[in-house]
Amino acid sequence: MSASPLSAPVLFSVGPVAVATPVVITWGIMVLLAGGSWLLTRRLKQLPGTTQTVLEFVVETVEEQVRDTMRTAPAPYVPLIGTLLLFILTSNWSWMIPGIEPPTAYLETDAALALIVFCAIVYHGIRVQGLRGWLATFAEPTIIMVPLNVLESFTRTFSMLVRLFGNVMSGVFIVGIILALAGLLVPLPLMALDLLTGAVQAYIFSVLAMVFIGGAIGEERPPEVEGAQ
């Protein structure tokens, strides 16, 4: 961890643009996830082998979660939710490789993720309900609630950002402090706790994204394309 947890260390500069370390790690994780997905899904078979079975299990679990939480056909939302879940999980656990700090421990990465969710809420709200119907959801239950609802749509995005940042950063920070105070092997229990926290935070971030998008697409759901379970 750098001296201040609120600023990211700069790795190198390309001309006037300073490239921070979390950006490089983020791109590394993106290459890993995208390349890994491409390699693993290159030869899909009708009769799945071990790898394909595990992959199908992951995708089906995400689909099941989306269907249960949003109570609608999961197809339009699985790519976003699944990517958020996998990316945040990989980022939160990336400190297991020595010398790498999780990019989610820096404000900028979390701000970008929260911004993606904010845009997805607006996009899916307008896509399903139409512009007029989406704007009308702000006037629920009465017209007096409009300022509060508009304010809430921003604060909940902000709270997603602060929640992920605070949890991951505090884990890294506390491990650093204990390591400086007590030395080798003492922070191990805290690091085990960090593994749990990282997984729970990745889950919560994607569940909250599902809940917020589900709220934006309203009660009148499109008819289920796939058969209901």
């Binding site: 201040s4 605070g166 949890n167 569940v207």
Partner: protein, 81 residues
């Protein structure tokens, strides 16, 4: 160390210390209620656990806000030059 720095460090400690009490009590109540509900209806444990996690995250945010305030006081204090 001048007075502003002393006050900032004290403020950070008080913010985290006092700010952890409320969410701690709240999360305790929430988990106790969820345990009670799971004991009554074990078949809906999955739904309860998911709702509990989201609720706990919401409550926990209050404590995280206090942590962020403390960090701002310690590392990005606008009154210390």
């Amino acid at each position: 160390m001048d007075l502003i720095q002393v006050a900032s460090v004290l403020g950070a400690a008080i913010a985290v210390g006092l700010g952890a009490i409320g969410p701690g009590l709240g999360e305790g109540h929430a988990v106790a209620a969820a345990m009670d509900a799971i004991a009554r209806q074990p078949e809906s444990a999955g739904l309860l656990a998911r709702t509990l996690f989201v609720g706990l995250a919401m409550i926990e945010t209050m404590a995280i806000y206090c942590l962020v305030i403390a960090l701002l006081l310690l590392f990005a204090n606008p009154f210390v030059h």
